[in-house]
Symmetry: C2
Subunit: 602 residues, 2 copies
């Protein structure tokens, strides 16, 4: 039976036919792995996701977290699933063997995690956050922080959170007001409230390790004065045992449209509810250097952004596979031109418009998954490539692609989920089918870890312009290389040319935008730039996949699968790429409608 | 205080400055009305919607209909609101005075109803269906049906439904299997199940009048053998009193993503649960001629399609006004280039991308509302214009515009609701703010009363080609007339030219599509045609509004309002109209990707 979570065959194409994951195994860091053992790990992820995560996705959506006697109550299946995840060592999948990790390539770790995201994005959010926090501590944590917090996280005993936003400071982190008072023993005491904290309070783990942004009094103003702290729910003693409850308390739960299984909280640090009698404040420990909190947190944030994009892609994939299954099995109507009204109805997959909706979903979701795994592969290069220039280029490219890898799937795989509902007709709008939940879940992804608007400013205002435009130039070269290969393949030549034209148009627009130094005007339509470059990057991704699908010597039994990849690529070039012109038109015109609009005119 | 439901000022522009509603008052049918009394009615609608419909929108979403002892239980506010609606005579707003109606122009009736749709689309669905059913009975019902069913509906005592779909026959109505057995007394007995019946069972009214499609045995196959019946929940005796319960029973409730306050049911006709001992079957009465059921029902359906579009537009409007209010009051971040990190945060409406999202919402929602009221105005012309050719042209144009008036708002005002969430950031994703509910509600509108795909086939396969393309030609002429006026106004000239170019391109594409007689190929991308023509029609609508907004002699105190209209028009031409090319590109290429795609390749 085929999974309705992800396409195993397509994942295998991405990892082993396109991204050449096997090549990584020759490198020192990954030498204990073989292709066989990677496949065992992936199969384990699929099995656990199918058996432990997917079955309670509906139930945890229906029974959202609630408070009972001051405790957060979740349905028990969440804890069972997460225990199994932790016990399988999956939190530690990417970590060094010397601290108990598997030292897996990032691209494999993410591919394995994709199964959990597709099965149940809300339950998968707990390990998602814990893995992010663990990577941050592995890089910036002190030896004691590694022993006392990181290792129990890797064992699945402690969970992690990221505490950035405050009620008045979301996108504008520099305005946060949580303060951290230095203590004589080198620790800090924190005071303040944090909003939107996923996994902020629950009984799922022995302890919760909050990574908190706060300001040390007397530091620089704005975002330059932000530091990062470990603030555990329970203090940890010298021996690593749990001591008293730290002064972190739950103020309230947020009630969301989707992602309902992920408890989302407003937390108070140092409001005196816990730790009474002691000096007030929540005990925290500085991570890394003082006032370098944003730099540290951005490592976690960049990783989280790619995982958010991956989650959006996985929701797109599972929505697509559910719609495909429905379309194959739902009889309705007849072929155009069939005049016998008493002939049997045909499955709706026979209708051109249903096939259009399925192809769109396939193109969006598989393309988004490919892009996000490509980004993970860049992390592996950044970390383990032998030559310095490869590491540098990978880093540069990753940094340009991150806002796209986050935003594009959040926008287009949401659209894919909408199409999945549409394929189901009225049934898709009911809670009897899972596609409406996927649509509700996926709507969050354009918001958390930086909205589209924030990603767009990051892309155009920072990534495109950094180092004299080096990242965009590098991307152009990479695309040009793909176009070159396509020009040698008669079936792909026209797509290559179409892509090259869009890249050229984007290049001219980019140069013109910054020609007169008016940054405000240049950035006014940054979101459309993000959309245009996003579609270009996805067209590039699809052309890469088409090159794989037309490679000589491919197995005959896979012919139908490769035809499907080519059809999705054809769909993308025929139906999607032309949209780029509409976005570029606004940028070319340097349209100032939004700048000139006045509040009073609305 | 400004309403957050609709913009009173914009509604007034549409009715009295653009659609010249006052001109209707000179016609015999509407002569008992004055502008003043129309404004009183509109103000009453606004007040009732604000005071009785809006306050329970959140609660009825949270407490969806449930079964208790076999009865459907709704929150009591729904009945209170609907009683007031009925007592105010609003079900009868458009009906003849001689049967108790107000004989209001359709455009005013719809504008008044818009307040209810914006306030609470789920509660408004009950009168929406009742009004549709009442119009159908007024046109096709027998004298006895008018006395026994229509009049109590107009008094607000009976509610109506439309029973079309069955579990295996949704879009494909010809496949329905409910049968109606003729009886000696001229009545019928119905047997079968009906799916997706909104308002199908409840205790809100004295009686429910189901309008049911069924087949009389021995009739023609497929959709040509469908007849229409009145099937009341309670039988009505000669004196108009309620008699025994008819054999219509509730099989189950559907649980939806949104529109939760509208009870949606699966009904059984003639399963023997009620009327035991009598000959089995639900008692029904033929409406109109036998086998003409679809023609009758299409009157109701066409009206319902425009009201669905209107509802989508109203959800877009209220979402926009909530987002606008939030954007004006939420401080976050600083203006680009502000280097003082300790300066106060600015309201997010100061950010260009937030203004873009607000302008998009305004352009989508106000434009959609305008289009739907324009369609209602065409109904008034169709019904009351003095000259026959005006009536015929109005009818022709209405028939072409109906699929667009239904689909375009369902697609783009949903996008508007998504942007309303985005403007609210994380808060918009919570149930503490109403925008997530609007988004969930609006997602239905692309499905019920014919999906996008069905509307697209109706548009391209029927409306565009009927009468040798006369409807499209007429629309082109109307647009050309607007372009002509715009060419005389320096501020609008360029928009007029841009619109004329798109109309010309669409014309060429249309001719080429049907040039070789391959209907299957011509219709393969009908949905993209619907989108392209939709954007063209909306650009035309905006150009019309811009002409009004730049008219000589407008009041100075309205300057800001008119500037806003022009800005929305500018947004539409700058940011939206270019998308037409992307859709036309697929049609021009006669892209056959979806036709050639095979099931096995997915």
């Amino acid at each position: 039976m085929n999974s309705k979570l992800l396409s195993r065959r397509q994942l295998s194409l991405l990892l082993f036919e396109w991204l050449d994951t096997e090549a990584l195994l020759g490198r020192p860091r990954y030498q204990s792995h073989t292709r066989e053992n990677l496949e065992v790990i992936l199969a384990t992820c699929e099995r656990m996701a199918t058996e432990l995560f997917a079955p309670h996705a509906k139930s945890s959506d229906e029974h959202e977290p609630r408070l009972e006697g001051g405790q957060v109550v979740l349905i028990p299946e969440i804890q069972q699933a997460l225990r199994a995840f932790g016990e399988a060592g999956l939190v530690a999948a990417g970590h060094d063997e010397e601290i108990g990790g598997m030292q897996l390539p990032m691209v494999v770790e993410k591919a394995g995690f994709a199964w959990f995201l597709a099965a149940n994005v809300a339950t998968a959010s707990y390990p998602l956050l814990t893995i992010g926090a663990s990577n941050l501590l592995a890089r910036y944590g002190s030896q004691s922080q590694i022993e006392h917090y990181l290792k129990p996280m890797l064992e699945g005993r402690f969970f992690g959170t990221m505490c950035l936003s405050e009620e008045h400071a979301g996108s504008s982190l520099g305005d946060l007001t949580t303060r951290a008072e230095p203590q004589a023993d080198g620790s800090y005491r924190l005071f303040g409230n944090k909003m939107w904290i996923s996994g902020g309070e629950h009984e799922l783990a022995e302890n919760i390790v909050h990574l908190v942004l706060a300001k040390i009094p007397g530091g620089p103003p704005g975002s330059k004065g932000i530091s990062l702290f470990v603030v555990p729910r329970f203090l940890v003693n010298e021996q690593g045992g749990l001591a008293e409850r730290n002064d972190v308390s739950l103020v309230g739960l947020n009630h969301k449209m989707g992602y309902r299984g992920t408890v989302n909280t407003l937390l108070a640090f140092g409001d005196g509810r816990f730790l009474p009698g002691s000096a007030a404040g929540a005990v925290g420990y500085l991570v890394g250097e003082a006032h370098q909190g944003l730099t540290c947190m951005f490592q976690m944030m960049n990783e989280a952004r790619i995982t958010v994009g991956l989650g959006a892609a996985c929701l797109g994939m599972t929505g697509f596979l559910h719609a495909l299954d429905y379309a194959r099995n739902r009889p309705q109507g007849r072929r155009l031109g069939e005049r016998n009204q008493e002939s049997a109805q045909v499955p709706i997959i026979e209708h051109a418009d249903v096939r259009r909706m399925l192809l769109a979903q396939k193109a969006y979701a598989e393309g988004a998954l490919a892009l996000n795994l490509y980004c993970a592969r860049l992390v592996d290069e950044e970390r383990t490539a032998e030559e310095a220039h490869v590491r540098e280029e990978s880093s540069l490219l990753l940094s340009l692609l991150t806002p796209i890898a986050k935003s594009w799937p959040s926008e287009w795989c949401l659209e894919g989920n909408s199409l999945a509902i549409q394929v189901h007709g009225g049934y898709g709008y009911t809670r009897d089918y899972p596609v409406e939940r996927m649509y509700r879940d996926n709507r969050l992804n354009a918001i958390h870890e930086g909205t589209h608007g924030i990603q767009a400013l990051d892309l155009l205002g920072r990534k495109v312009t950094m180092k004299g435009g080096a990242a965009l130039m590098l991307l152009s070269q990479r695309i040009q290389r793909t176009v070159g290969k396509a020009s040698a393949a008669p079936a792909l030549m026209a797509w290559g040319q179409a892509l090259a034209d869009k890249v050229a148009a984007l290049g001219s627009v980019t140069a013109a935008l910054f020609a007169d130094g008016d940054v405000k005007a240049a950035l006014a339509n940054a979101t459309l730039y993000l959309q245009a470059l996003g579609h270009i990057v996805l067209a590039w991704t699809w052309l890469e996949l088409a090159l794989v699908a037309t490679r000589e010597g491919r197995a005959e039994e896979d012919e139908a699968f490769y035809r499907g990849e080519l059809a999705a690529c054809r769909y993308f070039f025929g139906y999607e790429l032309p949209k780029v012109d509409a976005w570029l038109a606004v940028l070319t015109a340097r349209d100032s409608t939004t700048l000139e609009m006045e509040d009073a005119w609305f």
